[in-house]
Amino acid sequence: MATDNTMKVNLKVWRQADSKAKGEFKLYENVETTPDTSFLETLDILNETLVEKGEEPIVFDHDCREGICGMCSLFINGHPHGPAQGATTCQLYMRRFKDGETITVEPWRSAAFPVIKDLMVNRNAFDQIQQAGGYVSFNCGGAQDANAIPISKVDADEAMDSATCIGCGACVAACKNGSAMLFVSAKVSQFALLPQGRVEAVKRVKSMVAKMDELGFGNCTNTRACEAECPKCISISNIARMNREFICAKFKD
């Protein structure tokens, strides 16, 4: 019987030896943890017991564990980054779950994000999209004095909101079509809203969308699942902006 400070959960985890292997779920029963332990720490605890038993530990992505790097992933109980909204997996705590609950943990499923091992997927596709145009390439000169380039507060705030995308891929994982539109639109918007980004705006949106299509992501059907699951609450208004930018860019051809 668990006391107030401890709890036991059953973890049903996807295990897959490598990208080509056929994976399957494995159930780890009665994993001891506490309500104030993070989900990733609970996986660490489980991994320690697996290593002690001589078994292969579960492979999963993680890095900063502060919700800012975008490395953690995991599809937990039917939601990317777990059931909490506006939070990454590393910010998910066991108090979200019931004592004795069976928690299903899967890798993110997308043709563009192949499984490397267990719960770790290859998100290199996002890097390729970013490399296709998610930057400013011209020489801006020395650092400008503050307010030398007037930018409205609304635009500055929206650009900042778009730039908070950490590129974790939860949007792709949540979308029933495996679409990367929220990620790409956030990256397009953070530049499109600012004068420095406008110079290459036409080329950027065309290149990034072309790369996204080439990599096999699905089409956006405006279900809003991406926005609802995004740990940084990126709005689908970015997608509308990208559509607008793309259509205008194509008409200029």
Binding site: T104, R109, A111, S179, G218, N219, N222, R241, N243
Partner: protein, 221 residues
Amino acid sequence: MWLIDSSIGRKVIMSVTGLFLVLFLIFHMSMNVVAIFSSETYNDICNFLGANWYALAGTMVLAAGVVLHIVFAFLLSYRNYKARPIGYSTQKNQKEVEGASQNMLVLGIIVLMGLCMHLIHFWAKMQLQEIIGATPDYEGQFTNGAELIRITFSNPYVCLAYIGWFIAIWFHLTHGIWSAFQSTGLNNKVWFPRLKMCANIFSTIIVLGFTAVVIAGYIHS
């Protein structure tokens, strides 16, 4: 051609054809509502829209819109399926995600099946007869739409089938209308709730108008 090659282009085709079909539905519903108030006026409209060149041209454009919308719906769905070949064992949606948006293809197929039923009930007995040059049993047989409405909806099961069809159309439109604006870039944070509200209002008006005609047809039969 970016409209066909790119994911955004394909969505633009879905949006433009979809909005065109919504405009047609508004026209169609407005025309049908006339039948509730005056059979003569409604039949005059049917006469006006017989197998004349402009009605035939309109029908061709409309059919092209329907075909494009359907072809691209399946094309997009196939690509979306390929983008996630392995699904999740459990996937749940947050409350913001509407059921209609997740099931547009299924709703669309129901709408298409209803459309076939509707074409058999009405178009095949009116404009098609004129196109193939069939001889009417009596004068005005192919343009007496008001009578055809009463005959068709005298069967309560047909009425129920039509109302079921309208419900599917309502769900399809509540998502489709605002979604069309989003896909063509005509949306932002301020306009999103407004567009959603407009989509709900338009869908409801269209569906209530059609339903009223079915009920009136049943009552007058």
